[in-house]
Symmetry: C2
Subunit: 197 residues, 2 copies
DNA sequence: CCAGAAGTACACTGATCTGTGAACCACCAG
DNA sequence: CTGGTGGTTCACAGATCAGTGTACTTCTGG
């Protein structure tokens, strides 16, 4: 399989062009000829490297997922305070949003690729579960009450801010503030209103 | 313009088929021939009624928006208690989700139609602003503190539950619970942790 | 020097896509 | 009876799509 081989320089350039075009214009709307043209390489090289458009789409999502996870990990790691670390993914999202203004690439990909058997569905589900687990681990490490429930709520806030991003409502600041409030509340003794029911 | 004329029975059937196919399989992935075939009408009639695929897409989103708003309005109106009414849109979302499992049709449409000049962008933005304003009005009517801020937070929770729906994480129950907690907290005296900062 | 890998140039297939033209039919109101 | 509206049938144009075949070049490691 071509996608398991280490990427050649030409393959990397094609993948970079594909990432930009797929994210900005949508997967179905972007043809392989356009990707080849934007990358400065030929369509033949694209097919020699990736085998098919579907494989290129999968590589695009995989690469993007790795870049995003690295950013989140880095942002979390720079937090000395374990309480601040719980909401660090929201800070990472702020950084990420400066250069990615078309919402979540994975939600967008699922919108265009309805077939549940497509690898994109597994990649997207894995990513969200990864973030959910990360929230859970961070909440546990910070000593939050009911870390699993808190993690789910933080995930909803995160995805909500991401989903409403293309609408220019500036929901990120509000959801980050609410996330911090939830973490703070979960550290206080007894079941507050955020934890009951 | 054909889209302003009152719809003929054939036009309604075509629009119904388009709604189902566009939502389930994506807009770009569905061709006009497929819509004609599923509706039992001809492609010629489709073009006589709607003029172009773009107009049909716009009609699809408009119709869907109206159906959804009617459901939300009805759900809100059946609430005797003004406090319960604030989170009624979350109950409407639960009903809606039973037959619409592919996330938000408008977010999905924006993913496929990157051109900001496309009417879909206006329709989607209008819908989210409508919900935001509705949350604000309901919060004010219920006597919540800082209704505008609460409305934004409720919108984020709503969209977060909707965005994560295709991932089968059952985030709707959790976000609904959190929404109720926020409303409850905003009714108690003094600035709680959910309102400060 | 040579073999193989990577990339180019370019023509091409077959399928699918949106959209049109034109003749035709059925029905209903005036 | 007649004209118009709504719908059908079917062929077709023109563009674009994913993907292939083949011969050529260029570079590098042994």
């Amino acid at each position: 399989m071509p996608e398991t081989r280490s990427r050649t320089p030409a393959g990397q350039r094609i993948l970079a062009a594909a990432e930009e075009l797929f994210y900005d214009r949508g997967i179905t709307a972007v043809g392989v000829d356009l990707i080849a043209e934007h990358s400065g390489l030929t369509k033949r090289t694209l097919y020699n490297q990736f085998g098919s458009k579907d494989h290129l789409v999968t590589a695009y999502l995989t690469e993007r997922d790795q870049r995003w996870r690295a950013l989140v990990r880095d942002t979390v790691d720079t937090c000395a305070d374990p309480v601040e670390a719980v909401t660090a993914p929201f800070d990472a999202l702020r950084t990420w949003s400066r250069t990615n203004t078309r919402g979540c690439a994975f939600i967008n990909a699922l919108a265009e690729l309805p077939d549940p058997a497509h690898p994109a569905h597994r990649i997207a589900a894995d990513q969200k579960h990864w973030l959910l687990n990360l929230f859970g681990e961070l909440a546990t490490a910070a000593g939050c009450a009911q870390p699993a429930r808190l993690a789910t709520r933080l995930l909803v806030l995160h995805e909500g801010a991401l989903a409403t991003q293309p609408l220019a409502l500036d929901t990120l600041a509000e959801s980050t503030g609410l996330a911090r409030s939830l973490v703070r509340a979960s550290l206080e003794t007894g079941g507050l209103e955020g934890t009951q029911r």
